[in-house]
Symmetry: C2
Subunit: 209 residues, 2 copies
């Protein structure tokens, strides 16, 4: 099991830049989402209990809880993406001398590619939920932290875009056409949803900056 | 001196989410750029010495060197942004009983706000340079890592957008109108440049994904 999130920021960046293909863009997508969730949590924390924000206290407390849950999930996805990539690499290295071995390897590869597509797909879904929170935070949270609400939205939007690319690159290797079609449709909707939500949040921030 | 980059990813996310306003969006902007630079470096490392990429070897080696330099600079900006924010907080807390103290505090605040604007401005400038490298990497780097080149561009573009918001929020408090005008013009150009470069890179990736 990998444990990237226990590494220092500096070490993570070093490992990312290295000639090892993992961690790569998929883990960065999840990290981008986790950073977005963390910033929404921060704005909730800077709003809660502050004068002038009594009317939104309950809603903000609820959003903070959800945002912290998403942060936890997205933090796990940083490691899970690298693990899923490593599983593909392991399947590629399986023996392929006999017909039996070849079929065994083919099946293992298809399972590994599906898993490597599912992880960033889950990242994209979680990032959309971060955007939903960032919208409330930008609208009702502490006005002094409005730029942080905007950066939260930007990181979550980028999380969706980056995750989508990582789903698509894995879909290229999946032979189950029904699955590929279904995931492609979901991806299309997720991306459109993310871009709309993010533009709306940046519009709210623009009025208040 | 802060040393955020020596913290684990998990601890950094915890501190970001906490009720302390620093680190905030400015440090995240620099981290986004550093992640972008790291991914471009990775694609360079996965291209260098590989069969079929002999013709671009020299150019890729040169880009790797530049990209690693930018990664180092952007990593430093993660801490510098939080330091600059803390300087503003320190200036706010200065005594303001006598006229002398008031003037002293006003001057210190103006200096602190300029510094807090300069740091994300520098982040934005460095992120543009990351985009320049990501473009070459997407065009000429290892085709197996094309989605990583795209994520590199997305992170650098987001770095510019996030940094820009953090410059603007500090400009609001700066009384030197000539400075504000000059920085605003540069910001406008940087953002336009970033969006154009990023769109171009995603177009290259789209053709090859």
């Amino acid at each position: 099991m990998t444990n990237l999130v226990k590494q220092s920021l500096k070490m993570f960046l070093d490992e990312l830049a290295s000639s090892s293909p993992a961690p790569g863009g998929g883990s960065v997508a999840a990290l981008s989402g986790a950073l977005g969730a963390a910033l929404s949590s921060m704005v909730c924390n800077l709003t809660s209990g502050k004068q002038g924000y009594e009317a939104v206290q309950e809603e903000i407390t609820e959003k903070l809880e959800k945002s912290e849950e998403l942060r936890k999930d997205l933090t796990k996805l940083i490691d899970r993406d690298t693990e899923a990539f490593n599983e593909v690499m392991n399947a590629i290295k399986m023996p392929k001398e006999t017909e039996d071995q070849k079929e065994h390897r083919r099946n293992a590869l298809q399972i590994a590619f599906k898993c490597a597509a599912e992880v960033p797909l889950e990242t994209a879904r979680k990032c959309i939920q971060v955007l939903e929170i960032a919208r409330i935070v930008a609208e009702k949270g502490n006005k002094n932290s409005i730029s942080d609400a905007a950066v939260s939205a930007l990181m979550a939007q980028t999380g969706v875009q980056a995750a989508m690319l990582n789903v698509r690159i894995n879909l290229n290797s999946i032979k189950d056409t029904k699955y590929v079609q279904q995931v492609s449709t979901e991806l299309h909707d997720l991306l459109q949803n993310a871009m709309e939500k993010s533009a709306e949040i940046l519009g709210i921030v623009e009025k208040n900056l």
